[in-house]
């Protein structure tokens, strides 16, 4: 029991439908080979363009761990809890849209937030809503963790300064500049990253 398919009929139908198409659409269906002259010219153009960049490099990336892009002060990076300032109101836990913040009890039986960096989406609702500004914010966004469990902070880790573990510590900060010929280029600001 099989379905009989008339392949010849189908292929005929397809070819007639392609022939009835408008000429500007037809070229998508037809296999065209460019003639020799233009294709040779195009190949040579492509190769010379490539050679131009090999001879005269024009890099648009930065040498990352040694150079970092300078972030604006309002950039939403990793933050830490100032435990003495916090009043334990739980507003950050309530507003957190991704359920990353959780309240725990500290040794003095007071409520304090801890964060799961694996869930955090860096929306900064918690920082905004905090009535006593108990979060110390940084512009660090490129922290790496060895294990998933490391992203689950406890109270002690959440109060540590993330600047101490900054992976691009000591890197040169770069600023974006617009150049008339090359477009956007990076220029060093002269300031080193990290270390306060």
């Amino acid at each position: 029991m099989g379905v009989e398919v008339d392949f010849e009929k189908i292929s005929e139908e397809i070819s007639t439908s392609i022939e009835n198409l408008a000429p500007e659409k037809k070229r998508f269906y037809k296999v065209t080979t460019p003639s020799l002259g233009p294709s040779v010219v195009r190949n040579i153009e492509a190769i010379t363009t490539g050679l131009k960049y090999v001879i005269k490099p024009m890099r648009i990336t930065i040498d990352y761990p040694r150079q970092v892009l300078e972030q604006p002060p309002w950039y939403r990076g990793m933050f830490r809890l100032l435990e003495n300032v916090c009043i334990g109101c739980s507003l950050c836990d309530i507003i957190c849209p991704s359920d990353a913040i959780r309240m725990v009890l500290n040794p003095e039986k007071k409520k304090r937030p801890v964060i799961n960096w694996g869930r955090c989406i860096f929306c900064y609702y918690c920082v905004d809503i905090c009535p006593v500004e108990a979060f110390d914010t940084t512009t660090i966004h490129d922290m790496a963790f060895d294990k998933y469990e490391d992203m689950l902070t406890n109270l002690e880790e959440f109060t540590k300064d993330p600047r101490e573990k900054d992976p691009s510590k000591g890197a040169m900060r770069m600023r974006i500049k617009f150049d008339e010929k090359r477009g956007f280029v990076y220029e060093p600001t002269g300031k080193k990253n990290g270390g306060g």
Binding site: T49, G50, R59, I60
Partner: protein
């Protein structure tokens, strides 16, 4: 080094057989054989990544050996591969799976035995059909690439090896025809005579059609862009090498570069005049080292152009590649053969 060779000659002076065996082993295993090929492949890997990065406006490998632009990246990769675990898939055909990368590399390196790099020290097998023999030996290597895909029992590996089989047939024939048309023109298949007869004009200018056809066919046979279809990373993971890991992956990935080295050596001997500014020399330095370095320089230029094309071209579809292979490159190789015959029978070239 030189003093040691001379000492060796003194010690074994009377025994020609042992002397030739030692020289032959050194030729095959050290220079310009296996160790030189591994060094060249590692540097070529770095050069390819660096050139492509430059064209794509990036930095390229820079983390290892920063002062020399990350040139030791290939060696670092090699060391990493050799300490990684080799995983053998449960459903694979174990013996062919383990043997085929090594055999493919063996048959890629073996043509060195026929190819001279200097007038003073002859290759281990000095034959008057050296060109034909070298092509014949290196044509065996793709069989083991097909075997890799078969033994892996992986659909990507199988598809990749089928693509390799399909395309190698379409491009090895033009390569063989175009490079043998040089043999027709020079009236010899001996590498020494071929190099000697280019003293006035390099073979590249005597028969430009053959050079173009064999260069394009070389790009496909060593799976360089725009013909890197059997290992198409975006389509079929790594083609025939998908299931390999650790050192086995290092071997199979280096295979393309090893083949590139050998093919570029062949092209630089046949088309670029080999060691030609130097006609003959005496002693180890003048007769072997300097001519061989000239050959290596020409080889490097050919392989750098071949790896540079990765930055310029995209990847052809299989049907496009086969059409180009059978219509254009094959026709070009036939034209080169006819051109050689015209040159020889028209009396334009005459060899003493």
């Amino acid at each position: 080094m030189i003093q040691e060779i001379l000492l060796l000659k003194e010690l074994l002076g009377n025994n020609e057989m042992i002397y030739r065996t030692v020289i032959g082993l050194g030729y095959m295993l050290i220079y310009p054989g296996l160790i030189m090929i591994v060094i060249a492949a590692a540097l070529l890997l770095w050069a390819e990544r660096k050139i492509v990065a430059l064209v794509q406006l990036r930095y390229g490998p820079l983390w290892i050996s920063r002062r020399i632009g990350g040139a030791l990246q290939g060696f670092a990769d090699l060391i990493r591969f050799s300490f990684q675990e080799v995983i053998i898939p449960r459903r694979s055909d174990v013996i062919p799976f383990l043997l085929s990368p090594g055999l493919a590399i063996l048959f890629s390196v073996l043509p060195i035995a026929f190819m001279p790099v200097s007038p003073y020290i002859k290759p281990p097998i000095h034959s008057d059909i050296g060109l034909l023999a070298a092509i014949a030996v290196i044509s065996v290597a793709p069989i083991f690439i097909v075997l890799m895909g078969w033994a892996s029992d992986n659909k990507f590996a199988f598809v990749g090896s089928l693509r390799e089989a399909l395309l190698i047939v379409s491009y090895e024939i033009p390569f063989i025809i175009s490079i043998l048309s040089m043999g027709v023109m020079f009236g010899s298949l001996d590498f020494y005579e071929i190099v000697e007869r280019q003293s006035l004009l390099p073979g590249m200018l005597l028969n430009p059609f053959a050079f173009l056809a064999s260069f394009i066919a070389m790009l496909r046979v060593t799976s360089r862009f725009p013909f890197e279809i059997s290992e198409a990373e975006t389509e079929i993971v790594a083609g025939p090498y998908t299931e390999y890991s650790g050192l086995m992956f290092g071997l199979s990935m280096g295979l393309a570069y090893i083949k590139l080295y050998v093919y570029a050596l062949m092209v630089s001997l046949v088309f670029l005049g080999g060691w030609l500014p130097i006609v003959s020399g005496e002693g180890v330095i003048g007769g072997f080292l300097i001519p061989s370095l000239i050959v290596i320089l020409k080889l490097t230029v050919v392989s750098l152009v071949a790896v540079f094309l990765r930055a310029v071209y995209g990847r052809y579809r299989i049907d496009q590649a086969i059409r180009i292979g059978w219509i254009h490159v094959f026709a070009l190789s036939i034209v080169s053969l006819v051109w050689s015959i015209i040159l020889v029978y028209g009396g334009w070239v005459r060899w003493a």
